[in-house]
Every structure is written in C-alpha cells, then in structure tokens.
Amino acid sequence: MYPFAFTKASNTAEALNAGRRGGRYIAGGTTLVDLMRETVERPETLVDISALPLREVTVTERGGLRIGALVRMAEAAAHAKVRTIYPVISEALELSASAQLRNMATIGGNIMQRTRCTYFRDVTAACNKREPGSGCAALHGFNRTHAILGTSDSCVATHPSDVAVAFAALEATVRLLGPDGARSIPFADFLLRPGSTPNREQSLRKGELITAVEIPALPRPLKSGYMKVRDRQSYEFALTSAAVALHVRGGVIREAKVAAGGVGTVPWKLPAVERHLIGERPSRALWAEAAKHAVDGARPLEHNRFKAELLKRTVERQLRIVGGTK
C-alpha cells in the first residue's frame, strides 16, 4: 500500500473542498481499501465522508424512492419501503457480497465499485483500465467471468454490482453535488462503457459527490425481483443475473423493466426484451421469445461463450418467476 493522507469531512462543504483538491472519497471502504492494498489504487488523500447526512431512505413526492448515498447496503435491503415498493432492489442487495460487507458498504460506494477482472487487480498484468495504453490481458486471457456485452478491444471487464442492475432496470437517477452545484443524471449515463477509454468509468466531474440514487415511481401493482446465477450459492459475483419489474393490468403487461448483470461492461439494460413484453399477455412462450433478445449484440470470448445461452435462460427464468406463470 502506498502512503496516503487521511482526513474526515464533518460536513458537505468540507468534503467538496477536499474533493476539489483531489481527495478521494471513502465511505465503507470495502472496495477501495482492498485495491489500495493491491496497489491498484494509489490515492494521495482519502476523505472520509461517513459523517455526511446522506443516510436517509425517503419516499419522493411522486411515490418513488430516494436512497441516500451513505445508506448501507444492509440498511437499504431491510428498509420497509424498499422491500414493499421495489423488492428487486432488496433482493439484489441481499444476494451481494457477505453480511459483513453489506453492513459496511454504502449505496454510493456500491455503484462506484470497480471491476473484479483479475488482470485489473494484478498490477503486473496489462490493463487499459488501470494503466491506459498498456493493453488488455483479459481479451485473450482467462475470461470466463468477463463481459459479452458493451465490450471493446480495450476492455472486456464486467461491472460487478448487483444493485446497479436493479437501478439500471428501474431507470434510476443519480444525484450529484459538486463544486458547481447539484445535478442529476440518468443511471444509464452515469456508468460509462469502456470504448477506448476504459479508465473512465463514471461521468463524474472532479470533486463531485454522489448524494443519492433516486428510483422513479412506477405504476402499481408492480412485481419485481432479482435473480443471480453463480457457481456457489453465496458470496460470489454473478455469472449472469436479471432484474425484472412488471406491471400487469387486465392480464396485459403495461410496463416492463429488465436489465442483466454479470454480462456487461456496465449493468445491461434490455430494451429489446422490454419492447417484446409490453402489450402482451404473460405466458411461457412469451418469456422465451422475449429472452432471446437479451443477447442482442453479444460478443463472447474464449472462456465465456456459455454466458450467452445462460443469460437467455436466466432472463427467461426470472420473467417467469416475476410474471408468475407456471
């Protein structure tokens, strides 16, 4: 670990001040400290933002939810409103990490977490994300867990978050506060595909702070849920996952929100699947037909070819589970 300075911000202004001077924000630290120990991350200054007043979960005026950036994963998962309005968020959180990590890690930190690509985390390997221009060892290396969607020749790393898949499905908004004031950006624009600059992962400006993630209101009744497919039954990142939310009225699907995880360089929204569902009546045949579109544009690698088929089946299964057809 490289030496670093550590400061604590007691209010938002202090934090922004430190952030503007190049300080890195730290809350739960469950990703950042690991990466510092591997010398992947070498921040000169850490700014502890745990004392900031960003720990509330509130229902917005229109009936959506605002989850403060410093709400712990465990708190968000257990929150009554989250559980009742958006079970998909609770489920995604509870299928993440371990109980100990969920007690430490925050929502803001979760969507900032960096890839689990082992070449990224091994400083002796070529990695354009860690060291722009050095190449991508994963492209022709061991890439079983890597992405098949949204990849480029520069980077095939998967975004590891589960709850971000739910946020992507539900078309959440990220609220930011920076030296120039507050702004909101759609979740789909917050995380960046690698393109030729995989080192740029979020559309954050220097010193900007995530204050909350906002989930828009959706028509009710809304059924939603998250499914995660992995080798072992706990404490593993997804091979594939699916976040699904459906609003069915009069036997017809009126709203469909679907995204996939474990397969994309960012949480992968599936608009083609959604389009296929809206206006249709739930049926096994519909789920299968819609799920076929989950892999539109997929570009599998040597060791993750199976993910394309697995993703289709994962989406199909989760549509069936949420859609309730036997």
Binding site: Y2, T118, A137, F142, Q233
Partner: protein
C-alpha cells in the same frame, strides 16, 4: 493383565483446546510475541522463466524503516548439505543463490523493515529487470517424462477381448489447499542457534530441511509450532519463505517475521497437481472386470519430480486379474506440487469410480452390485491378506441409511420443479501409513500427567485425541492429562499428514503411558506401606488417578499417595512404537453417497445430502471423527464443483490467486452431511491401538460420488473437475 477401563476413548468429547481457539488465545505462527521482531516481505518474480538482469533497490532502501533488501546479488552462499527428509534432492530451498527464474512468483528478493507497512511498500518499489524466456505451464502441450509402470497379467489383451469396454479420460484441475492460516515464520538467531516459530505439520521435518540449508547440525535449529490453522498437506514440507526468513534474520541480526499474503500462497507453497487420467475397463456382461488399463499424466516442476501414491488404488481396489498402469509427470515452469488431502488416492478415485459408474450404466447393473462383483478376498496387487476390509458392510449400511434401494436407475428420471434430481455413489481407499513415533510421558506426584511428542495439530484435534488415549492408559481423568506438541525438541514424530498421527503418535503414547502405569503398579505392590502390597500386578487397574484391585475397588491408593510416600516427584518414560514388517494389506475404506439437484436449464449443481460410511479402524474420539467426516465431505464438494487454480499459459500467471476468484464452498453450499464409522473396527494388525487413520478417507470418493449423481440426474457424463454450469447447459 486386567485391561484398563475405557472412559475417555470412545467418548464424544469436545476439543481440549476449543476455548483457547474461540477466545483467540491459541498462538499461531505469526502471533508469537518475539521481542524486537522486524518484518519481511518477499518480492516475487513477474516472469515465468528466464534470468534476472538487474535489481534496483534504491527507492526501496530510501523508505523510512527499511533495514535491508536481500537478493542473489548480496545473499550469502548457503551450504545446502542435503537433507535427511523425503526430499533428498530438495532444490526448493535454494533461495537467492543465482539469477535464474524457474517459475512465476519465485522469490527474487526480500525486503526487511521495522514495520509491515514499510516492508510491503518497499517490496513494491524494488525494480527487477529480467531477460524473460517463453514459459511452459500447459500440461496438455508440454512433453512428458519417462513413465512409472505397473503391470499384472496381460491387461491390453484382456481389454481387447472383453465383451464390454469403457474407455474414458478424466481431467482434474490443479487445486490449492487454501487453509485459513497463511504460511508464516518468525526466525531468530541466538548465536549459532536458530529458532523458528513456524506454521508446520512437521516440526522435525522443517528443522532438518532448514539445518541442511545452513549446513548446521539439526540440533542447532528448533522449530516451534503449537497451533496450525489448517494444513491439508501444504505445511508438511519447508517452503522457500522459511529459509528466506532465516537468512533475513541472520543478515539483519534481528528476529524476522515473514507472513505470505493470500496471493503468494498460490505460488509460494504447494498445490495438488492437475491430472489427466485415462481408464480403460474391460468386463464381461455380468460385470466381472477382467482388465484395467490406466494412463496417467500429472504436472511437476522443472527442478523436482513430484510423485504421490496415485497408482495404489488402481492396483488393489477391485479384483481385476489384468492391470496395467503408466504414470508420466510433465515438468513445467511451475513450483513443485505437494500432497493435498487424500493425495493421489482422491485423484485415482475420481477416475476409477467414474469409470465404474460408466460401466455399471453400460451393463445396466446397480453401481453397488458391480462393485460387489469385483470385491477381492485378498490384496490382488501383492497377495497379502487384508488386515480389515469392510467395504461390503460400508455398502450395506450406506445403502440402507441413504435409501439407495429406492433409486430408479434410469438417468434423468426424477424431477423437482426446475431441478433434476440424481444420486450417485463412489468408493474411497487410503493407505495406512506406519512410521513409528516416540512420546515422553511424565506422571507427576500431584496426579497429573504431561505427554509430549513433536507432532502437530492442524485441526483434526491431536491435542484432544492423544489426551484421550493417555487418560485411559494412565487411568486419569481428561482434566489431569496435558498433551503437548509442536516443538522439534520433543520426542520424534513423523509428519502430521496422511492420516498417520493417531496410528503412530497414539501407539507411542499408549506405550509410554502403559509403561508408566506399570511402573507405578510395580512400585505399589512392592511397597510394604501400600494397601496394594503383595497384590499381583496383573490384578491392578487405575481409575481416575487411583490404583486398585480390579475386583475389589476398596483396596487401593492414589498415584499422589503412592508417589508422595515414596518421595518420587514423578515417573517418566519415553514411549515409542516401531511398526513391524507388514504381513497384511492395510487400508481404510469408505463408501460415499450423494444426492444432487441440477437446474435443468441453468446447469447449476447443488448437493442436497451426502452420506459417508467408513471403515477406519477403531475410533478414539467420535466427536472429532464426525467433524473430520463433515470437513472431508465439504472439501470434496469443493473439489467436485468449485476448486480450480487457473494458470494463464501465456506467462505462467495464476489468474485466480485469491479467495474471491478461487472458489471454496460457503455455508450455503453445504447440505445435510452425515458420516458413519463402522463399529467394532479395531485393526490390531495396523498398530497396537487398532486405529487406521481417518483424515484422508473422509475426503476420498466424495467428488466422484457427486459426479456420478450428476450423471444420474442429467444423463450427462462430466469427466472434468470441477463440474461447472457450462458443462451442463
């Protein structure tokens, strides 16, 4: 002689060191509080093969707290006089002696600093330049060496003429032990005397290996290792970091602590080698196997040839008259493998037991019936009678307790929603390893006893089980018996591995305690002031520290009374056991049963329940044995479904050198597990206390039982471990 009453042995006692462990008071290698200790961090090679052309240590040395950087450029030339261990040609402790790099991750330098943080950071700042050569780490493409062969009968001819043939090749991935405790050493020199506080399963082995490095007498090295946080075989041999710690301590004149990081544990210590194992079975239509032809290939390093007992199973588990085997190792640019739980035998079991399952399916015979048809009456590899071989009982008890007979033999015949359900079974065998051992027994005048042997306790419960043997042999309660281990100055002990500790140490403890008890009895019957004066020594037993006439408990006295009156502070004996010539074939056996569920569309395998029935001889400590059975099955689930060390053959890098990417089972993966040890299993041909060892047998056969259950569930035969979703989609 009246037999000593059995009170502690056979009782389901909890660990005597359990409280120490759960309260954090058990001291593991890195936790010893050594005054003035400084910290060492190894710099690992970042190439897989080649030469070091330069090392720039300026930035590292400029860091506050850094004391020294040692590499081949400034390390002392070491004596390497050759060790007396199992590895006479040992090369792996040749640290910093030249510029050659033989595998990726090889130590090329070490940084010593006053704090761990400074040492870690400075290690990162050491700049090593290399002249890299192409790396060869792929067993599939690299040339193999000369084979080790075995043959009886004419297996090729018998196979060719067999009515039914199975020909299948099985692949098993490299696996790492991944014990919770990292390998760690603290080294301190006091003049010419070296003390090592080390994580080891063999204090005297490490002692000899390290003494050989420095060319000093064995007695000049003392190894202390009271607790080991899991070993699974990896701590049986001394690894480079131990020699590095010792060199660093000598060069800096300070005690040096060196703890391997989790990443370093994937190349700084050993692993179970990957295997390719082809089996050809020839059988008649009723399931009588006539021929077994086996071709094996496994990985080793370029500098040492690692061979383990992988061939035995295929020679003795079934009664085939015609057997041929050849085993080739493939030298690669990797570090040397080492034994890992059920070494060799677990590998053989996966191949042979899978092939037998394939044959059973081919013949449409129940897998247990097929095995019964091929059960030998004597060891077919050498004609020796079996000491005990109770596999038939394992089948009977296992089938009954598991509900095997309700099984529909047709693959893919049972479904539960999205899940396909299947059951499978497999056989395990493991050698009874007899090396002999010594144990010092001291009975104090206060009625307590201290027993010592230079063995280890990596988790199975040596402290507890040896105390149980001692308590009964001395006639003391458990409370008054203390067993100590983990110090090379204690009486001689073989490696704590290969399920041999109970056999060897237990027999030595029994011997020592019997002798001390008899000394005390002799003292009493010859002592005019003793109530036992004149009694036939053979008629005296000791119970709870009191000697008395066996059929007249009122007549007697305590050890304390006897020794105090005779002005004896203690009685002491060096117990020992040396095995005689083996006149029997001695193995442990097990039959493992597994039920799995396989998601029909997602390919996920989940073990639902498992049962192991074991013939492991006499069981000294049933609660510990049960824990071993559970742990063995958990390990087997890992081997079957999760564990796989991945090498990037482009440069020899271990890709998943951490516990997030190298997967072991978590609690959620562990279902209903049950182990049954057959009653009345005393095997007195094996050793005087009738035990056969059990740490390996509980693991062997688990993976093939699961693989066979996966076949039964899905109709898909997966011949490569671990079995992951992609194989079943």
């Amino acid at each position: 002689m009246s037999p000593q009453p059995q009170a502690a042995v056979g009782a389901p006692l909890s660990r005597v060191d359990g409280r120490l462990k759960v309260t954090g008071k058990a001291t593991y290698a890195a936790e010893h509080d050594i005054k003035g200790v400084v910290h060492a961090v190894i710099v690992d090679s970042t190439i897989g093969r080649g030469r070091i052309t330069g090392i720039d240590t300026r930035a590292a040395l400029a860091q506050p707290g850094v004391i020294k950087v040692i590499s081949h450029l400034n390390a002392p030339r070491l004596a390497y006089r050759g060790t007396e261990n199992d590895w006479p040609d040992s090369k792996q402790l040749r640290i910093f002696q030249d510029d050659k790099v033989l595998f990726r991750g090889q130590p090329v330098a070490v940084v010593v600093a006053t704090t761990l943080e400074a040492a870690e950071h400075a290690a990162h700042l050491v700049k090593v330049r290399y002249d890299a050569e192409k790396t060869s780490t792929d067993m599939a493409t690299a040339p193999a060496g000369e084979p080790v062969n075995y043959a009886r009968g004419d297996a090729d001819k018998a196979y060719e003429s067999a009515a039914v043939q199975v020909d299948a090749t099985y692949q098993q991935a490299r696996a790492h032990h991944n014990a919770m405790e990292p390998h760690a050493t603290i080294a301190r020199w006091d003049g010419d005397q070296l003390t090592l506080w080390d994580k080891t399963q063999w204090p005297m082995g490490t002692q000899k290996d390290v003494a050989a490095v420095f060319g000093i007498p064995n007695d000049s090295v003392r190894v202390i290792s009271p607790f080991v946080g899991g070993g699974f075989g990896n701590a049986i041999r001394a690894w480079p970091h131990i020699a590095i710690a010792a060199v660093a301590a000598r060069e800096t004149g300070r005690p040096v602590k060196l703890v391997l990081s989790r990443r370093q544990l994937y190349f700084g210590v050993g692993y179970r080698p990957s295997y390719e194992y082809r089996v050809r079975l020839g059988s008649d239509r009723r399931g009588r196997v006539s021929a077994m032809v086996q071709h094996l290939k496994s990985e080793t390093s370029t500098y040492e040839n690692f061979i383990e007992g992988v061939l035995n199973t295929g020679q003795m588990v079934y009664n085939a008259p015609h057997v041929r085997q050849d085993h080739r190792t493939v030298p690669l640019d990797v570090n040397t493998p080492i034994w890992m739980r059920g070494p060799g035998y677990a590998t053989a079991a996966f191949a042979i037991e899978s092939a037998m399952d394939e044959l059973a399916h081919e013949l449409d015979i129940d897998p247990i019936e097929l095995r019964r048809h091929n059960e030998p009456e004597e060891d077919p590899s050498n004609g020796l009678p079996f000491s005990t071989r109770r596999l038939r009982e394992c089948y009977t008890v296992g089938a009954r307790e598991f509900g095997w007979n309700r099984r529909d033999p047709k693959p893919r015949s049972t479904r539960d929603g999205d899940w396909l359900i299947g059951t499978g079974m497999a056989v395990g065998t493991y050698d009874v390893i007899r090396n002999g051992a010594q144990a010092r027994v001291r009975l104090n005048a206060d009625g307590t006893a201290l027993i010592q042997s230079a063995t280890s306790d990596m988790g199975p419960g040596t402290y507890t089980s040896q105390s149980q043997v001692a308590a009964d042999a001395l006639g003391l309660t458990m409370r008054n018996v203390t067993f100590q281990l983990g110090d090379s100055t204690m009486p001689t002990a073989p490696p704590h591995g290969g399920s041999q500790t109970m056999i060897n140490i237990g027999s030595a403890v029994q011997d020592g305690c019997d002798k001390v008890r008899k000394q005390a009895i002799k003292l009493a019957v010859e002592d005019k002031d003793s109530p036992l004066y004149g009694v036939d020594a053979e008629d005296i037993v000791v119970r709870a520290g009191r000697l008395h006439v066996s059929d007249n408990p009122a007549r007697g006295e305590t050890y304390r009374q006897l020794l105090t009156r005779n002005n004896r502070t203690h009685l002491e004996v060096l117990g020992s056991w040396t095995p005689g010539q083996a006149r029997h074939s001695m193995y442990t056996y097990g039959a493992i049963f597994a039920e799995v569920a396989v998601d029909a569309s997602l390919g996920l395998v989940r073990v639902r329940r498992m049962l192991g029935v074991f013939d492991a001889g006499r069981i000294i400590s049933p609660k510990l044995a049960d824990s071993q059975a559970l742990g063995g099955m958990v390990g087997g689930i890992g081997a079957a479904l999760l564990e796989h060390t991945v090498t990037d053959h482009r440069d020899g890098r271990i890709v998943n050198a951490n516990l997030a990417d190298y997967m072991v089972p978590v609690n959620a993966d562990i279902p209903d597990l049950r182990g049954i040890f057959l009653d009345g299993g005393e095997d007195l041909e094996a050793d005087p206390i009738g035990v056969k060892g059990l740490g390996e047998i509980v693991y062997i056969g688990v993976a093939p039982a699961i693989a066979n259950a996966v076949f039964h569930a899905t109709g898909r035969r997966v011949r490569e471990l671990p079995i992951t979703a992609e194989a079943l989609l």
